[in-house]
């Protein structure tokens, strides 16, 4: 077994655009669920809207890449308003149902053959990165250290992704430590009590849904930045992976989702590399095909999620005191 290679591949996942995308989306969910108590099961839909909004505005309308990001943001705002307007006055579970359905509707609209000319249907979208790569200030070449060695294009993707990440982390941190964030946490605990104090609960919930949704869309943009959009990515299981990352790190925290997403992907990368190796002759999992071994990781992730929810429901970064109070 080539441990150096396994560890190097694992380490590399820390700086991968997919990890960044997960961090962004789970920060959006943290605002939704951890701070405002909104059950959004459609974060994959927000990511899809972000990714497609970016690529389509470049491919079909000839926008520069940065304008593509702005289009994604605008699309996410519209999507959030569409989802929130009919549901945010109702009980929380209605939002859950509507978001999960809307995310599927969005995905199927991108997937259907009817709009093949526009969306690329099952083959997705590609070839939209010229404007992005032209904006790369780094000279051509190969830079970096050990597992973190990338071409200048790959670095450019990571720099933009990381910059978006820093802005979003700052935003979430600044919002949640402010009086605005306090209102949101109050709404999470009991919205009637907050209404009785004269706060427009509906407006706050809408703002939270929009901002978290924009974070999710930016996750989709970063997912799409490197090369192509594959419609099979934005399925419901993506939503639940993001939830896993969020709960792992701690839902009502700012750095929890960051940590949770990184751990999630490091673990995924490690298991993806190590499990097939373990199926070789003489290793523990001998008898399984390497593909079966690799699939085992989903079982392990599932078990891990159960263990977190049972033994550390507030997540790694959550406040221990919260555990004392079961609602």
């Amino acid at each position: 077994m080539d441990w150096i290679q396994i560890l190097s591949n694992t380490a590399e996942s820390i700086l991968s655009p997919v990890t960044f995308a997960f961090v962004l989306a789970s920060l959006g969910l943290a605002l939704h669920f951890g701070f405002a108590g909104l059950l959004n099961f459609g974060i994959a839909g927000f990511m899809a809207i972000g990714a497609y909004g970016y690529a389509l505005s470049i491919l079909r309308f000839g926008f520069p890449w940065w304008a593509g990001i702005l289009v994604s943001i605008a699309a996410a705002i519209v999507f959030a308003i569409l989802l929130g307007a009919p549901t945010l006055r109702l009980r929380g579970d209605y939002l859950a149902i509507v978001t999960i359905a809307a995310a599927e509707i969005a995905r199927l609209l991108f997937l259907t053959n009817t709009f093949d000319d526009f969306t690329g249907s099952a083959s997705g979208l590609f070839g939209y990165h010229n404007s992005f790569r032209e904006a790369n200030p780094l000279p051509d070449g190969f830079y970096g250290l050990g597992p973190f060695s990338y071409s200048s294009t790959d670095w450019w993707v990571r720099i933009v992704g990381l910059s978006l990440l820093i802005v979003v982390i700052w935003l979430l941190w600044a919002l949640t430590r402010s009086p605005w964030g306090r209102v949101l946490k109050g709404i999470r605990e009991d919205e009637d009590a907050v209404k009785a104090l004269g706060k427009n609960v509906y407006a706050y919930k809408m703002q939270a849904l929009i901002i978290g949704g924009v974070f999710g869309a930016l996750g989709g943009v970063v997912y799409a930045l490197p090369s192509a959009i594959n419609p099979t990515v934005y399925v419901t299981s993506l939503t639940f992976f993001i939830w896993t990352a969020l709960l792992l790190g701690g839902a009502a925290t700012v750095f929890g989702p960051v940590l949770g997403s990184i751990i999630f992907w490091v673990l995924q990368a490690f298991l993806t590399n190590v499990l097939p190796a373990l199926t070789q002759d003489g290793a523990i999992l001998e008898g399984l095909t390497s593909q079966q071994g690799s699939t085992l990781r989903f079982i392990l992730v599932g078990i891990g999620l159960m263990l977190i929810v049972i033994y550390r429901p507030q997540g790694i970064r959550g406040d221990k005191r919260e555990l004392t109070f079961v609602k």
Partner: protein, 296 residues
């Protein structure tokens, strides 16, 4: 506070004290307010005026419609018919937060402490017109930091008054039931209300605390606020209320100053029953139904 008898406001009404009697200076007026749930008419109030600057008690048996009436007045529920005016302004059709912003704050029969906020955060949330509660301004602390400090100061002052300041950094979830009642009331006061509506403020509060709570309610009046409260504890009603409104089966069956209203046959029939001569506080206070709800 309990040593010296509270000063009762008198001469609040015009004419005979009967249901719907006009008040000299009403802060809250309800007309033809009805609310039914299916076949049951929970509230059917022909006319009610709540006198400004006084303490009014709303009493009545379980299921009389007191809480439902509170919900209608505060915008948490919508009446089937009727008009309501607060401070001369029609509040019919307004949302609960809009009514609260006018200066009408309420507490709930089932206490609503915001469990995973600290006691201090609960308090600060109560303050109105906070610059930092706007989404854009919230990003720039220099805009709201000064106001935040003032709010914190006021919150701590109130917490001291309600004997909760030692708990200020604990989650509200760690408070006892009675302490939560106190917190909810203190938090309501953070809004600087002109009308405070308390739904059973004494339920589940121990007798020693009751005294200080009574004191707090009387202080509100001294500070110029109007209080409307629902209570089953006749001792408290007699002690602090300037005016008593009696509800039964959704209707107002009597109103008047506490001493005379409790003599009325309609009240005895509807509520007090034949135990009037014995200790009312024992007979009617600490009603099981409300305490059971309290614990949840």
């Amino acid at each position: 506070m309990s040593n010296n008898e509270p000063v009762k406001s008198t001469g609040l009404h015009i004419g005979d004290a009967k249901p719907g009697v006009a008040k000299k200076d009403p802060i809250l007026v309800a007309d033809h307010v009805t609310r039914s749930f299916g076949g049951l008419t929970a509230v059917d109030v022909e006319h009610l005026e709540v006198p400004r600057g006084a303490i009014t008690a709303l009493i009545g048996p379980n299921g009389a419609g007191k809480t439902t009436f509170f919900n209608l007045l505060t915008g948490f529920d919508t009446p089937n018919t009727g008009e309501m005016h607060f401070d001369g302004k029609s509040v019919r059709g307004m949302r609960s937060h809009q009514i609260a912003k006018l200066g009408q704050v309420r507490t709930f029969q089932l206490t609503k402490a915001l469990s995973l906020l600290t006691v201090l955060e609960n308090m600060k949330l109560g303050a109105g017109n906070q610059l930092g509660e706007g989404i854009l301004k919230s990003l720039i602390p220099s805009i709201w930091r000064k106001q935040e400090a003032e709010i914190e100061e006021r919150a701590i002052e109130l917490l001291n008054r309600f004997k909760l300041s030692e708990k200020k950094d604990d989650f509200a979830a760690s408070l006892s039931g009675g302490q939560r009642k106190l917190l909810e009331m203190a938090r309501a006061l953070m809004t600087n209300p002109s009308l405070v509506m308390l739904d059973e403020p004494m339920a589940g509060v121990n007798p020693a605390l009751t005294e200080s709570l009574l004191g707090h309610v009387l202080d509100l009046k001294k500070e110029g606020m109007t209080v409307l409260f629902v209570e089953h504890d006749m001792h408290m009603v007699r002690h602090i209320a300037d005016w008593v409104v009696v509800m039964a089966e959704g209707k107002i069956v009597a109103e008047g100053p506490p001493d005379s209203v409790m003599e009325e046959q309609a009240v005895i029939d509807a509520y007090l029953g034949s135990h009037q001569e014995t200790d009312l506080g024992v007979v009617t206070g600490r009603v099981d139904a409300s305490e059971g709800g309290e614990k949840q």
